[in-house]
């Protein structure tokens, strides 16, 4: 009964995170040049080396061209029309504790279902809340510090742990890696920094919640996670934005470093505003995510992508050390006029490295959904193995599903397996459900959830439930 009521409630609603927080912000005038880069760096009181690091990225970016190989079409953003820094005014003098944080900001997160007061927070999950260009609050920091775990906004880590940030920033995704990574390196605002010391199992789930609020701004967060030898961490990020008629740009970079025998599990529930039913507005989500896995290390990416107007994203693993393991589990759902070009790269460098790719693409409405994946077995990757399973589900007859697998094997003993299927939600399946009294909306959501089951089981428990519900909302109106 209660679950049915919940479904009814959710089906009856459109994008739920689409409200705007009325708050006074310091927003930089639109435009991008070296002064803007210096301004951002100065605003955060960064050391000289980081300012230079940013400028180097900016100069590289100026000479790069926007990539156009992805299976997506959109008007190119005017980078001079965007603002590159926006922060709530109340955050100007860093609040010392949650009690000093603007109640309007706290209310925003509560409305999104992310209570930041620790006594009300989900037990066992520490949250860093990033609002436009700044981190609003990070919960459970003291408790984590007891275990030696560092979890803080990267803007603070630059000051408190400069040696770590300097060592690892850009070590996985270099400044000039690609057009959007270079842009991010020049103007990144905030994001999370995580360090797990040797042999430590992080005592709770870590999560960052990203929120774009201000109009005509871009969000450029940067996340860096370093798991030292033999450590273990599970991290989750969530993203939402208000409904706005104009497109907004989100270009993030995530770098993961898993040292010998370490394990990082990184989960994403991406629900940026997808635009309206006519394809107006929505977020351009151009993200670079990459991990390097040293000997015996394991990195697992799990993503549930339901939002954004255009998505361009390939969380990847460089399997550098022998016996290292990379995993990619993905559900990408597109509806209405959404476009997604997403997948992964598994680069096998070490011996006996293993990777698994499970990708589930769901297309509905007039959307286009592409899987693009690279599996590369380098000359030293003796005994390396990959298994790829790539399934597409079509709902309706006006959407598209595309698969672009790239396989390069340079070692004779490497084994690469690729399986792909394309199916539809069949009339027979729907009729079986309806003949048993189940209405069409519920039937479609059940079938789609079943299709995604292999990926959902990789998500932390409470987020798996959330992801299922999210699919339901996102599919609204996809069946006549």
């Amino acid at each position: 009964m209660s679950s049915n009521a919940e479904i009814e409630r959710r089906i009856g609603n459109d994008y739920q995170a689409g409200f705007v927080t009325n708050i006074e912000s310091d927003t930089l005038a639109p435009g991008l040049d070296e002064d803007v880069v210096r301004f951002i760096s100065a605003k955060k009181g960064e050391p000289e080396w980081l300012t230079e690091w940013r400028l180097k990225a900016f100069r590289a970016w100026q000479e790069m061209v926007e990539p156009d190989w992805a299976h997506v079409t959109y008007p190119k953003p005017d980078f001079q029309a965007l603002s590159y820094y926006s922060a709530p005014k109340s955050m100007a003098d860093k609040p010392k504790s949650l009690d000093e944080v603007d109640p309007e900001l706290l209310a925003t997160y509560e409305k999104l279902g992310i209570p930041l007061h620790e006594q009300m927070a989900l037990a066992g999950v520490a949250v860093d809340a990033v609002f436009d260009s700044v981190s609003v609050a990070t919960t459970f920091r003291e408790k984590l510090a007891e275990a030696g775990v560092i979890f803080m906004p990267i803007s603070e880590a630059v000051h408190e742990h400069p040696e770590l940030v300097k060592k690892y920033l850009g070590s996985v995704v270099p400044q000039r890696d690609n057009f959007y990574a270079a842009l991010n390196s020049a103007v990144f605002s905030d994001g999370s920094f995580v360090y797990i010391p040797k042999g430590v199992r992080c005592p709770m789930e870590l999560s960052t919640y990203f929120r774009i609020n201000e109009a005509k701004t871009g969000q450029f967060e940067r996340t860096l996670i370093v798991a030292d030898e033999g450590s273990h961490v599970s991290y989750l990020e969530g993203c939402t934005a208000p409904m706005r008629d104009e497109n907004q740009l989100h270009a993030a970079v995530v770098e993961l470093v898993a040292m010998d025998n370490a394990e990082i599990k990184y989960s994403t529930v991406q629900n940026w505003y997808p635009g309206d039913k006519e394809g107006k507005g929505g977020i351009y989500n151009f993200v670079t995510k990459r991990a390097v896995a040293h000997t015996n290390a394991k990195v697992s990416w799990t993503q549930v992508e339901t939002g954004s107007a255009v998505t361009w994203k390939y969380p990847s693993c460089i399997l550098k050390g022998d016996n290292s393991v990379g995993e990619f589990y993905s559900v990408a759902l597109t509806n209405n006029f959404q476009q997604a070009d997403t997948g992964t790269k598994m680069v096998h460098l070490g011996k006996n490295t293993r990777s698994t790719i499970i990708s589930k693409g769901i297309s509905a409405g007039k959307s286009q959904n592409a899987y693009r994946g690279l599996v590369r077995m380098n000359p030293n990757a003796e005994g390396a193995r990959n298994y790829t399973q790539c399934d597409s589900l079509l709902i309706g007859d006006q959407c598209g599903a595309h698969t672009f697998p790239y396989i390069e094997s340079k070692h004779p003993s490497a084994v690469v397996e690729h399986e792909a299927t394309t199916s539809t939600v069949s009339d027979d399946q729907l009729f079986l459900c309806r003949q048993r009294g189940i209405d069409t909306e519920k039937a479609v959501s059940m079938i789609v959830n079943g299709f995604c089951k292999e990926v959902f089981k990789e998500l932390p428990m409470e987020f798996a439930v959330e992801a299922g519900k999210l699919l339901e909302v996102s599919l609204e109106g996809s069946v006549g």
């Binding site: 009964m1 049915n4 069949s426 009339d427 027979d428 399946q429 009729f431 079986l432 459900c433 309806r434 003949q435 048993r436 009294g437 189940i438 209405d439 069409t440 519920k442 059940m446 079938i447 959830n449 079943g450 299709f451 995604c452 089951k453 292999e454």
Partner: protein, 252 residues
Amino acid sequence: MISIKNLHANVEDKQILKGLNLEIGPGEVHAIMGPNGAGKSTLGNVLSGRDGYEVTEGSVVLNGKDILEMEPEERAREGLFLAFQYPVEIPGVSNLEFLKASVDAVRAHQGKDALDSVQFLKLAREKCKAVNLDASFLKRGVNEGFSGGEKKRNELMQMMLLEPELCILDETDSGLDIDALQVVAEGVNAMRDPKRSFIVVTHYQRLLDYIVPDYVHVLANGRIVKSGGKELALELEEKGYGWLENSDNGAA
């Protein structure tokens, strides 16, 4: 119970049912027999409201309600159940989840409270046992990788859980060996009730040795051309359908 009058129906603009009349009272079991292509499966699909089956004339009244204007799920909630000839697979959706959604929907329509998960699991296990399916089938995807016999028993289990008032069995015997046939027939017989009616659609008389009907009708060229008691099935077994089809052609 159900009253079918002058039913005409098209599939892709081709007329399949051409004025079918049938009255079924509470507790009665009616067998529909007939040659291939006579419209036997069409009848079940039309009654349950499947897309692509267009009713052009006639009426179907179930318990005093005209069901032809209802959506398939509404008909199901009103107590109409179709056991499929070829049950489709729904990968990844567990049988248990599917059954719970189904029973919840029907109970909600009847104004009954939903069963909680524990109660439901207990009930579902009982029904599994009754149709000789291991309880592990509840965890598997709906019909996913089931054998033909397992699929049919799964259909029967759904029927037992939903306790419908009108059960339409569409060639339930097809693809079943004799043991599986007996299990299914026993299940159906156990559900016979003064308030529950059955339409048993079959090509062969064999099934009717186990599910003994009150009436037997022969469907040919979209109409009932002959009706009788259970002994009619035996006569058909002996003589085939040819003599009836010819008589119908003469009449038309």
